[in-house]
Amino acid sequence: MNTLIAISILGVLTLIAEIFNGRKLIVPVAVVGLLGILGYTISPYNAYDFFFNNMMVVDKFSVAFSSLFIVITILLILLSHEFYKDVPSTISDFVAIKIFLLAGAVAMVSFGNLAMFFLGIEILSIALYVLAASKRLDLRSNEAGMKYFLMGCFASGIILFGITLVYGSTGTFDTIAIYQISHSTTFPLWFYIGLVMLLIGMLFKIAAVPFHFWAPDVYEGAPGLTTATMSTFAKIVAMAALFKLITILLPSKLYELDLTIVVVAALSMLVGNIMALRQNNVKRMFAFSGISHAGFMLSTLLISNNSANVLFYYATAYAVAGLAFFAVVLYVTKNKKHETIDAFNGLGKTHPLLALVMTASLLSMAGIPILSGFFAKFFLLNELVQANWLVLVIIAIIASIISVGYYFKIILAMYTKSSEEELPSVPMIYAVVAVLGLIINIGIGLAPSFIYDLLG
């Protein structure tokens, strides 16, 4: 709870800093503040607390994911400094929005009441609409914002409808009360309809097939850093929230629901990876890749043991790889209108370190050992086999094979082609974030238990 308050205050502080001309201080202060909050969040690790009439519930799950979100936000804010160099007047706005995004995210994984959940997701969405459209003079950015906004609102309506139905059948928004009612007494079937509508709304947010169409367009059009935020941060936030919702609300495992999830997950994996094959825009490609990863993460809903662990590990691995990926992409496509793969030509020669980071991230996402992405997939598939979803495992394997095809397009560009143009020198901060991503990636690959056993 205090995390939420602290984050909100920090957000307001950054806004105030702008007023007092502390522009240069914004990023350092935000980062230091977030680091402090991170420490503060982790410290009562094993706590299990309720705050304010059960509006917020702090447990291992929420602490772990909150911490992960904070870390990602720190990295994103670090990148902001360089990314918004050209528009210094707005940096406080961007940083503040990112911090509020984090507040929404924290609310989404520690809600004890559906109202908190709903507000959290709306803060997240609205902030992202703004960020997507934030390059005001760029029509592509406008288009991305508009598309995201229209579809996002539509999905919000569905989520709201779902919440309403849950309320209608149980008479309360409180998750614990709902849990008790759904496990003890009889209740109208609306409850399940509501649950499914919530699920559908969240499937939209994580961009699962067939609710994924917005993602490639929006990712491509949005400014680079926003794409990074959406693809790494927003996706896993939505996934974690969905996970929490399903685990809390679903009274018992339903085969039909599981099958639905299997179909959606399988479609996401296949469609995402197959569509990514023919993409020439890196961001767009990453969007499709993200769709397939959404499919993978979605499959955690099917498993009974260690599911939170698997999700957390997968999310961490995915986010870390994605951030390192974007750190390089942001640098490489800095002065380019379109983020085509050609931009990477010859990177292997000109910037071996960045190329290495990029390669590692891509390989991690493709699931090659010893990088964390491999362990994520392994843990997931392992549990899926235990849960007897061998079909999905095979589909996941096939999808992984396809995915190598497009990840390698970038690697090929980096190592076999040569570039004609000179790239500007690497901004320190990009390199730092990239290398940090690489180190974490390999680190949690070498010692997966560190992350994997966090949620018990």
């Binding site: 609409y129 288009e143 229209l150």
Partner: protein, 106 residues
Amino acid sequence: MENILQAIGIENYIFLSVMLFCIGAFGVLYRRNAIIMFMSIEIMLNAVNLLLVAFSTLHQDAEGQVFVFFSMAVAAAEVAVGLAILVSIFRNTGSIDIDNLKNLKG
């Protein structure tokens, strides 16, 4: 005081709000004018609000109505941001036809 739903029946409200919700959805699907799409979304949210109030009455519970306030706030915020985006598109293209926004595809 008797529950008003005794006279009308919750199912009527559900049908009403489902239909209203669908009309809103239809508007989003059918229209290409961004402003009217916004309005359609407002209709959808209102349908849900109506349902919330109906359920609130059903359960004789205030929470549903409190939730409506949040929903309104969200609607307002969405409209504010949406219109801001719309304005900036209009400045760039001079049109608010959604079909003109097809640069990102493939």
